[in-house]
Symmetry: C2
Subunit: 267 residues, 2 copies
């Protein structure tokens, strides 16, 4: 990983004397309000991985976006809850000026050889080279960190309303960066609130995000700087809230992660 990649700059952390980790929001990752949720999720995961007691690889990550993160420094307080033989449970708090802005729980695990099978199937998609790159948008800054090639459900700001909320796209970081768990955690959140496809770009934001990591280090290495295929869809919109689920695939059809979130919206 190139240390001056904007992704690594954005999740860089410094250990403070009290054991907390200090990070700082990065202008390249700005969202409508505060930073892109995916970069906050990646910073939380990176914080846990930076603990000397941390072993294994990420299995599950839940990030609760309690309040907007303001531009500037933030502190991450990482605590081990329980260290089992094969699982580690951690909690993270993101603080600014004594206020908790984000909470997270992360589970790291040692993977064993086991029976394996995939039941979920990747969406049908032409090869990425046959799908046009989405035009650069001024909608939110962080979008410029990814090359996106939409097979279905591109974000439209001209008021197009879709019949359903599925987006399927090829994506990779700009500039390219070898895939790791932190990068995957962030990419699981590239699926803008599904209500945008149904009602246009109304006020909306993620409240809580949960990602399950299937990718082994070897599977991440196989992807390297290549494209991921991601697909997301909402289940129900009601009472100002909706949930959406996403799957993230390697080009060869390996399910790397599943990710779920609950979103508020005004429409």
């Amino acid at each position: 990983v190139t240390v001056d990649h904007p992704f690594d700059e954005a999740i860089a952390l410094t250990r403070l004397d009290d054991g907390r980790l200090r990070g700082s929001t990065h202008p390249a990752w700005a969202n409508m309000v505060g930073p892109f949720g995916g970069i906050t999720a990646a910073a939380c995961l990176h914080a846990v991985a930076s603990e000397t007691d941390c072993v294994g690889t990420p299995l599950a990550l839940t990030v609760n976006f309690a309040a907007p993160v303001a531009d500037g420094d933030y502190d991450l307080s990482v605590k081990p809850v329980r260290i089992n033989r094969t699982n580690q449970h951690w909690t993270v708090e993101l603080l600014q000026g004594g206020d908790v802005k984000t909470t997270a729980s992360a589970i790291f695990a040692t993977r064993r050889d086991s029976w394996s099978d995939a039941e979920a199937q990747p969406p049908h998609a032409p090869p990425p080279e046959d799908v046009p790159v989405a035009e650069e948008s001024d909608f939110v800054t962080w979008l410029r960190n990814y090359e996106m090639r939409f097979v279905e459900g591109a974000l439209s700001l001209d008021g197009d309303v879709h019949e359903q909320s599925t987006s399927t796209l090829w994506l990779r970081p700009v500039p390219v960066r070898p895939l790791d768990h932190a990068g995957l955690a962030a990419m699981c959140d590239v699926f803008f609130p599904r209500v945008f496809l149904r009602r246009g770009p109304v006020p909306a934001g993620t409240i809580s995000l949960t990602t399950y990591f299937h990718a082994t280090p070897a599977e991440l290495a196989d992807v390297a700087e290549g494209y991921l295929l991601g697909s997301a869809r909402a289940n129900r919109f009601s009472g100002g809230y909706s949930d959406q689920s996403a799957t993230m695939w390697s080009r060869d059809g390996t399910l790397l992660a599943t990710s779920h979130q609950i979103v508020y919206f005004k429409a």
Copy 2:
């Protein structure tokens, strides 16, 4: 709600002088090791709802099963993280003898009138009266708290191996009990580890469970003591872990909740 219903007995909590809530495991809800995860999830949700500052209704609940809960008393430490105008973020720790056995985060929300739509569709199923009731099993005690009518994917202990992991079933509590969010939270976890359908009843257990609640109090009241239709499926089994997603429906096809979990298994 009848106060002596075994569900309400199992999630009953007493306020201690230090502000914590004391509960106790209930023999009727025993699982292979410790209590049924769904009853622990329901107790965590009930603990948050018992706080005087709690407003709105449950929107999201993540429960991390860090260590088995031993038979006997446990204490729940409930903390408000952030109280916004329409959302409340809470954390819960379940402790026994000073050890954290479970952590949870819960988000309560005030629902507003909004545009609404459902994209997920209920699974095809004959009416519950046309589906036989699953025979009582000695596999785990807690199963006796639910009447289950499997449309697909019943648990078999005689070594049947299925080609895929979907279970679809009608279910309701035994004895019947009016549906509320705590009852719904528990029922989201009735889907035994999907690996049982693929490999038989091997060692397995939930590590982390996330539920998103769509049901309004009016929708819960419409269900009342009636059946829910639930369906769950695994996405990928690999390295000793798998994830599974479930949807919970009213008889009239309303999506009441979506629920996701990551499971360990030995197979």
